[in-house]
Point group: C2
Chain length 204, copies 2
DNA sequence: TAATTTAGCGAACGATCGTACGGTAAACGA
DNA sequence: TCGTTTACCGTACGATCGTTCGCTAAATTA
């Protein structure tokens, strides 16, 4: 049996990775040590050991899931310059993330938001902060694009953040609950249209 | 002790009503007979008795919650004629429902959608059918309004359904997770703007 | 090489889960 | 008025929950 230090770290990663999968379908509150240990082929003590408690395991799982969202949606967009180019890139990677999610059951952040929004605690605070960061990032790209005159100012940045975020949530429901295979592509077209549609009027 | 037949029906209603409250914060999978019995001042057997099993109690709880959504959002709009008037009425009652929800933790349907979308079964089927009915109803009002020339056809009915539903979901997150008291009103304004905004161009 | 650290296992704990069974007492039908 | 129905309780069941132990054995350090 290998017991080196980085082998332990790899085990921890493997636990969190499997926990994300389980929590995606069962929810963070449905993340149980027993079933997690079974699907990992480990003992319950071995699963909870590296984290100390189930709460800490839940925390690590949520943080990992939010990192995965950032990695899939935000990181690719950083290659594009701020403003409209980055916003366009965001929309594309966002909808690709919705269509082919790293989670088995759609957007983990949206699911966690619905699950945790009424349960004060550390988990909720972590999630709230991450959602605020994401919305602020989106807001900044919109504001930059508007300042540069690249997209019309008919809708305020806040309104566009709400609308774009909403389209993503709605598309997530269409994909996951309603099993509509065209949803992600329609959402992408719709998002691109919404940030530029009003410019037709401006061009007149 | 009263044991009349309609007293039993009232007890059943009371159980389901409390179950909706508990499931709103803990989720349908977090609906446990023990805690439900305690908050009702009843025995576990007395709680699960009228339903036969926990699954049936969950089913009754979900159906009740969906009825409450319909009662709060759809029913008031039926007083207005189909098409744009009914659509405007829907937006108003919808956003009022988001701001002052009959559930302690925001839209039950959205939460249930995220919770159940990856769990095949009777609950998921019930929810999927109800969401499809709601989206179809919304679609019909939009299509009617467009056929009557009351709102522009720049966005297809499907696109508007996705966008309006999404704005509601996003506003729900802003209210419940982000504790933004202005969210419902901003969503209402945004929804009204989106179904008529493109008409500015048409008027030129 | 000898001593220490530590990753993970196996077993057991009290608590709570959903469910089942028999009893009680009030409401109902004859 | 008397037997039947039934709403609900109290209790107990096996299963599973999260957590805590002592143990083994490999990796690390001296």
């Amino acid at each position: 049996m290998r017991k080196s230090a980085d082998e332990a770290r790899r085990t921890r990663d493997r636990i969190v990775g499997t926990a994300v999968l389980q929590a995606s379908t069962e929810g963070l509150s449905g993340l149980t040590i027993g079933t997690l240990a079974e699907s990992l082929g480990m003992s319950k003590a071995g699963v909870v050991g590296p984290f100390g408690s189930r709460s800490e395991l839940q925390r690590a799982t949520l943080l990992r899931a939010m990192d995965m969202f950032t990695e899939a949606v935000v990181t690719p967009s950083l290659a594009a310059p701020p403003g409209l180019p980055r916003l366009r890139s965001l929309i594309d990677s966002w909808c690709a993330y919705l269509a082919d999610s790293p989670f088995p059951n759609g957007c983990f952040v949206t699911a966690a938001s619905c699950e945790l929004d009424g349960r004060p605690g550390e988990l909720r605070t972590h999630l709230r902060d991450a959602v605020t960061r994401w919305r602020t990032f989106l807001h900044d790209q919109i504001a930059t694009a508007q300042s540069a005159g690249d997209i019309p100012t008919t809708l305020t940045p806040d309104a566009l953040v709400t609308t774009l975020t909403g389209i993503a949530m709605s598309a997530n429901q269409e994909i996951q609950l309603l099993a509509d295979p065209t949803a992600a592509d329609r959402a992408r077209t719709l998002m691109h249209a919404l940030i530029s549609a009003f410019s037709d009027k401006a061009e007149h």
